[in-house]
């Protein structure tokens, strides 16, 4: 350690103990020479509408249809959004409703979603049923004039996904958002600009993985509900690991790189869980774009090593995204980027990195930053917050428009809304959700059929 480094460590008063206690992957990456990429902190003078949701809009009465594990996660998140009162919940299995009532004590409980949709006070619905049950619920909700948030994937078949996306695009008067939650994450939007600016050089390839040791089985109270509860495990109802999990990571990479796969080749099988499941517990898929860029994806339920991340490999740098953090690892021959001159530099062990954070001048700020990370809104929070905000925006705009103009003139209404919604919150559209679903479902099909699938243009049309 040279003197400078020594002083840096001494000044920051970081002990080995507190370093290890507070160390996160962020710290580790910094030590390896990663440049942490973060969205800019807001200055105090700016209004808080982007960071604080408390005054972002007027409340929109929400309902959650499908109160399984993920539905309850959604309820928990909605309970933290002041403008998203949950007025109704729906599930066809009473124990799920009972559990959900604890999270939404003021909500009316329904076992039939159609009855819930009849309630006028319900303005927006979040559809968190199993993927294969999305279609009827979403289309009926749109017909009932409700704003709809449909979890990703849109459906378990391309045909169903297409029907949903079509209905969503035709429903001009309401807000539709697909559940690609990463598309609402401000950190991702920061990275998007960064990557598209060419900071990493020419994109060569990308890779993503999701590793977790969990069986994906849910405890079923009785044999009758076994298949219904474990719909993810059976081909008839499941879009597979890549459809349920990989869709988010693959969509993120394709979105960042504006890449359109022309083919996908998948592999996989049930390698570890020897129960009656039909869906692979370990998979790999390679997407190839027209430009030759490849995106490798792999996932397993059998091992948790290295968890989940996405990496974009450019000719000048690699950019790794883990959760809501990201780092840039520059090549030695990469040209100097302008912002590096102004950014604070740190030296850790043999490598040096530049931290893009106002308070990150010392190693201690890395450790403090790591603890701050947990308080950042999750992508799900940001996605639901955006959904409620946009639903309010569209709902009130349409209502106001109808008070003065002919609402039947759809073309004029669309034009009006396109102007009114210029400042809408970042959110995935029906088209985003549809395309991501097609790519994921075709990858799943490729894994099942053990063959390469060429993406047909007509599959990409809504």
């Amino acid at each position: 350690m040279n003197d400078n480094n020594k002083n840096q460590f001494e000044n920051s008063k970081v002990t080995r103990r507190n370093f290890l206690q507070n160390a996160s992957f962020a710290t580790m990456m910094a030590m390896l020479g990663g440049i942490e990429l973060r969205a800019a902190e807001q200055t105090q003078a700016q209004p808080q509408q982007e960071s604080s949701p408390t005054k972002r809009g007027t409340p929109v009465n929400c309902a959650v249809i499908g109160c399984g594990v993920w539905g309850r996660e959604i309820l928990t998140t909605l309970s933290q959004i002041p403008t998203a009162p949950v007025v109704a919940i729906c599930d066809n299995y009473q124990p799920m409703l009972n559990r959900s009532k604890k999270l939404a004590p003021n909500a009316e409980a329904f076992d039939d979603y159609k009855k819930l949709l009849e309630k006028k006070e319900v303005q927006a619905v979040i559809v968190a049923t199993p993927s294969h049950l999305h279609k009827n619920v979403v289309i009926d909700a749109l017909k009932a004039g409700k704003h709809v948030y449909c979890e990703a994937p849109l459906a378990h078949t391309v045909e169903d996904a297409q029907a949903i996306a079509k209905a969503a695009q035709e429903a001009v008067k309401v807000n539709f958002q697909s559940g690609l939650q990463l598309r609402s994450d401000k950190q991702r939007h920061f990275l998007l600009q960064f990557i598209r600016s060419g900071a990493a050089g020419q994109a060569i390839k990308a890779r993503a993985q999701w590793h977790k040791k969990e069986s994906w089985t849910r405890v079923s109270p009785n044999p009758d509900r076994q298949k219904e509860t474990n719909w993810r495990l059976y081909k008839e109802t499941s879009p597979g690991l890549i459809g349920e999990i990989g869709i988010h990571q693959i969509d993120e990479i394709l979105w960042f790189l504006m890449a359109k796969p022309k083919s996908v080749t998948g592999f996989g099988g049930v390698l570890f869980y020897k129960d009656d499941r039909e869906v692979a517990d370990t998979i790999q898929a390679v997407f190839q774009s027209a430009s030759g860029l490849t995106i490798d994806y792999e996932a397993t339920l059998g091992n948790s090593f290295d968890a989940d991340y996405e990496v974009i490999y450019g000719s000048d740098a690699a950019i790794m995204v883990r959760g809501q953090k990201a780092w840039m690892f520059k090549e030695a021959d990469a040209p100097l980027l302008g912002w590096e001159v102004y950014a604070k530099k740190e030296t850790f062990y043999k490598d040096s990195g530049v931290v893009l954070r106002a308070d990150a001048s010392k190693i201690i700020s890395h450790t403090e930053g790591a603890s701050k990370e947990s308080s950042e809104p999750t992508p799900l929070y940001q996605a639901l917050d955006a959904f409620v905000y946009n639903s309010d925006l569209i709902g009130t705009a349409v209502e106001d428009y109808a008070s003065s103009f002919d609402i039947k003139d759809t073309a004029a209404l669309k034009k009006f809304l396109s102007e009114e919604l210029k400042n809408k919150a970042l959110a995935a559209t029906a088209e985003d959700g549809y395309l991501a679903t097609v790519y994921a479902l075709k990858a799943n099909e490729s894994i099942e059929k053990k063959t390469k699938i060429d993406i047909q243009k007509e599959w990409l049309q809504i």
Partner: protein, 214 residues
């Protein structure tokens, strides 16, 4: 006989006059041609709020020439004007958070609409260039409070079936005249004071109602 003719002539004249006095052609606002903008100040920055919705209707004396090529007569114009703006449709330059604050100060739940009714419209002269300027007096209702306002309103006959009213020079209104306290929110620990005065402009394009065109 002469007396009979005189009575008939008088009756016809009265009927025609009556019709002239009562008959109007009705115009309806067009979604793509409405814009109202108010500009204000605050202790941190100037701001504006806009709406693209101005509902209501305009009825003009049937005898008023609508053809842009025909010269307008000067003097009083028989017209009925009613305009309404959903208060909530005003969107501020400071984002949705400030919109919500603005709506609170305007009590939009209790007073959801800004309304205007014309009392008088006069065309004193025809300018050598540009559109004629109408002298108007009307009642403006904001926050449930009615104030009489005078405006010099530009009038453009875009086509025989399309007209436009606009303010070439902004009018100045005071929030306190409508019993609205200028907002002074605390955002991000910064106390903001909004100025009382706002400068208002609008553009309002209307088309001959379809019933009139039949």
């Amino acid at each position: 006989m002469k007396t009979t003719i005189k009575i008939i002539a008088l009756a016809v004249a009265l009927t025609v006059t009556g019709l002239n006095a009562q008959e109007f052609v009705r115009f309806s606002p067009q979604p793509q041609g409405c814009k109202v903008r108010m500009e204000g100040t605050s202790t941190i920055h100037d701001w504006y709020a806009e709406s693209a919705i101005i509902g209501g209707s305009v009825e003009l004396d049937k005898n008023l020439p609508l053809d842009p090529a025909v010269k307008l007569p000067t003097g009083k114009i028989n017209a009925k004007v009613y305009a309404k703006i959903p208060s909530r449709s005003l969107k501020s330059s400071s984002g949705r958070a400030m919109d919500v604050i603005m709506y609170e100060y305007m009590d939009v739940k209790q007073y959801p609409t800004i309304e205007y009714r014309l009392l008088e419209m006069d065309l004193p002269s025809i300018p050598a260039r540009g559109n004629p300027i109408l002298k108007t007096v009307g009642e403006l209702v904001v926050h449930g409070v009615t104030n009489k306002i005078t405006m010099d309103v530009g009038f453009e006959r875009i086509a025989k079936d399309k007209i436009k009213f606009y303010l070439p020079v902004p009018i100045t209104l005071k929030m306190t005249d409508f019993k609205i306290n200028p907002p002074n929110p605390n955002i991000g620990g910064v106390g903001i004071k909004t100025g009382d005065e706002v400068k208002v402009t609008f553009e309002w394009v209307l088309s001959l109602s379809t019933e009139e065109q039949k």
